[in-house]
């Protein structure tokens, strides 16, 4: 059996994910921008950093913010030999660490920019290295760095950001990008490869005459595997449709309005989604007979069928497709 088709897939929110930060993290991120680390005093007097809005034990509202650090102590660490571009903001080996700033009772997850792992140890003293340009983001504290014995942490340099302001930070934008190699599976791969040969192939249920297209490898009514391939017709009946008046949703429909429809292909039992062209939107109707129009160079992908056009045959009677409407 040939391997399933694989397609590279990127999951990304264009421009990043916009988040409101709430009152506690507003104080924290505004503090980082201003070159200080802000925690909050909990109901039991412990100083929590980053600050939380509510006490983790009693759920009481917390608003007694206190400045901590600037130096801190490594509570735990692990070495990252190879930073990942586009994810890690440091471009050479570093450590992830839990660092407890002086005056705080909890540790924060951050990075330590050390040259070698042997510069790190539990209990090691570290100091913040501040970014020159700070915007109210967790990497304004660029990294913790080893603090030689007997030295004090230096204060943060003035914020060199062109848009530096004193206003409280209320939101952040976090980029998220994940990459995948999606595997179509056995049934869908057969279907897609057939599209590349200008054929539409579904699968028949084991215990009924139902033909599913696109096939999923199973009969959704019973969960039983489907393994018998069936080529279905390239003509079908519009069971329902809608007129789209929003531009830019489909490469195959550059102009609005256009019609997308559910089309019951001859010989199949699951309506299939397609665009309808070659007819004024006002003239599209349920029961209309349409046929597939292929691209010049079809491949194993859903884009091989450009759209459907009316065949000119008389409309199918409602009785023939009412169970699918």
């Amino acid at each position: 059996m040939s391997e399933a088709l694989v397609e590279h897939h990127v999951l990304e929110y264009p421009g990043g994910y916009t988040r409101s930060v709430g009152p506690a993290l507003s104080r924290y991120l505004s503090g980082l921008r201003d070159g200080v680390i802000v925690g909050v005093r909990g109901a039991d007097g412990r100083v929590l950093v980053p600050p939380t809005e509510y006490d983790p034990v009693t759920a009481a509202d917390l608003d007694d913010y206190v400045e901590v650090g600037p130096a801190g102590t490594v509570v735990a660490w692990t070495w990252v030999a190879e930073p990942r571009p586009g994810k890690h903001h440091l471009d050479r080996s570093f450590a992830f660490a839990l660092v407890r700033p002086d005056g705080a009772d909890t540790a924060m997850v951050h990075v330590v920019d050390a040259r070698r792992p042997d510069e790190l140890a539990i209990g090691a003293r570290v100091a913040p290295r501040w970014a020159a340009e700070r915007h109210g983001y967790v990497t304004d504290l660029e990294a913790w760095v080893p603090l030689p014995e007997g030295q004090a942490a230096s204060p943060a340099p003035p914020n060199a950001a062109a848009d530096a302001s004193d206003e409280a930070i209320t939101g952040i934008v976090t980029p998220i990008r994940l990459e995948y190699d999606i595997n179509a599976g056995i049934a869908a791969s057969k279907y897609l490869r057939a599209l590349g040969e200008r054929r539409i192939v579904g699968q028949r249920a084991v215990d009924s005459d139902q033909v599913y297209v696109p096939p999923r490898g199973s009969d959704p009514t019973s969960g039983a595997p489907t393994e018998v391939e069936v080529e279905v017709g390239q003509k079908g009946t519009v069971t329902t449709y809608c007129v789209v008046n929003i531009p830019g949703l489909s490469e195959n429909a550059p102009e609005i309005p256009y019609v997308c429809a559910q089309i019951l292909l001859d010989g199949s039992n699951t309506p299939w989604f397609g665009l309808v062209h070659g007819v004024a939107p006002d003239d599209v109707r349920m029961g209309m007979r349409v046929g597939a129009v292929w691209v010049d160079d079809p491949g194993p992908n859903a884009g091989s069928i450009k759209w459907f056009e009316p065949t000119g045959a008389p409309d199918a009677p409602y009785e023939e497709y009412k169970d699918y409407a």
């Binding site: 692990t78 660490a97 994940l178 969960g223 595997p225």
Partner: protein, 351 residues
């Protein structure tokens, strides 16, 4: 309380599945669990799955899983964006309400499609932690670092867990990381995420698992020796890693107490430990003595089909009880970074 038992279980596991998609992995798992229980699909009242859309990188991809379960005409159905052990919990609650008498539970995921360790960063605090992109292995390594320092244990004890798991996995046809290896040999391998080595980290695994549970009268009709869920509970620790004592697992201890782990002898325990040190933390948190056989399947270090791994722990214990090998055992499932959320259940045969 209504007595509820596990009466069927099946799993489909692959190290990196290149042919079948998720639905095609679930089909044999569901059919296998139904066959194991000797029950018809139409006789099962409730259907629930556990999965994570981020594993496949698309919204609502869990819905297609229903194609494998047989869901037309529409069935009573639910889903949790968690390991299917939590789907089992919801099914157990549904049975307790009296609305349903039996349930099909399945969990599935293909960790090989993306970068699992990076994907799991997205379950951390999105303001102060996720933007730094620590992977789930980086965060586990931080917990291991704290744990070893606080307890005075050494990485030799991690290697002992890893070696025992890999050897046990040899007897498990569903394991993907199995080898006859000694602790010393593992210690000689490189540290990849200090203080962890590769063998301390659960392998990337694709797969699905399915389970049938039912109330006593249905269970006794279909199963000679049902594995009854005597107690089940789940608890969660705070999200902030710095707010937690990472040397222990408070939520696991509370869940174990509520589930009644200490109310009888524990002959076998399957723990959802994705890293060697997590097993050591969980043994203490659950109060398991040295006489308890832990992870005879090889555990998550032998196979880790994310979103099914926890359910498989329950299935492994249930299978041993149903076969008569043991009478009472404990199963554990975990979610979140550094054992943040923990589910514990006690399974037992009547005799």
């Amino acid at each position: 309380m209504r007595d509820v038992a596990v009466i069927g279980f099946a799993q489909v596991i692959s190290a990196r599945e290149r042919e079948r998609n998720e639905v095609e992995l679930i089909i044999p798992a569901v059919r296998g669990a139904l066959a194991d229980a000797g029950i018809a699909r139409s006789e099962v009242d409730f259907t629930i799955s556990g999965s994570c859309d981020y594993l496949s990188g698309g919204p609502f991809t869990f819905v297609s899983g229903l194609d494998a379960a047989g869901a037309w005409p529409p069935v009573k159905e639910s889903h949790v964006e968690m390991d299917a052990a939590w789907a089992l919990y919801e099914a157990w609650v549904a049975i307790q309400t009296g609305d349903v008498d039996s349930a099909l539970i399945y969990g599935f995921g293909k960790s090989s499609l993306g970068d699992l360790h990076e994907i799991m960063t997205l379950q951390t605090d999105p303001y102060t932690v996720a933007p730094l992109w620590p992977s789930m292995v980086d965060l586990a390594a931080l917990q291991a670092s704290v744990f070893l320092a606080a307890t005075g244990r050494s990485d030799a004890e991690l290697a002992a867990v890893a070696a025992r798991s890999r050897r046990a996995a040899l007897a498990n046809p569903y394991a993907v990381a199995a080898e006859d290896v000694a602790e010393d040999a593992l210690l000689a391998r490189p540290v990849t995420h200090a203080p962890l080595r590769d063998a301390d980290i659960a392998p990337i695994t694709d797969g699905a698992a399915a389970m049938i549970i039912a109330v006593r009268d249905v269970a006794e009709r279909h199963c000679e020796r049902p594995a009854y869920l005597r107690g089940i509970e789940h608890r969660v620790d705070p999200q902030g890693l710095g707010l937690r004592d990472l040397t222990t697992s408070t939520s696991a201890t509370l869940a174990a107490h509520a589930a009644g782990v200490a109310d009888g002898p524990v002959e076998v325990a399957e723990l959802h430990a994705q890293f060697s040190h997590e097993e050591l933390i969980l043994r203490e948190a659950l109060g398991l003595g040295d006489d308890v056989e832990v992870n005879p399947s090889g555990g998550a270090l032998g196979a880790n089909p994310v979103m099914a791994t926890g359910l498989i722990r329950i299935g492994e214990v249930a299978t041993r009880i149903r076969s008569g090998a043991v009478r009472r055992g404990v199963a554990h499932a975990a979610q979140g970074p550094c054992l943040q959320q923990n589910l514990v259940c006690v399974l037992e045969a009547d005799r």
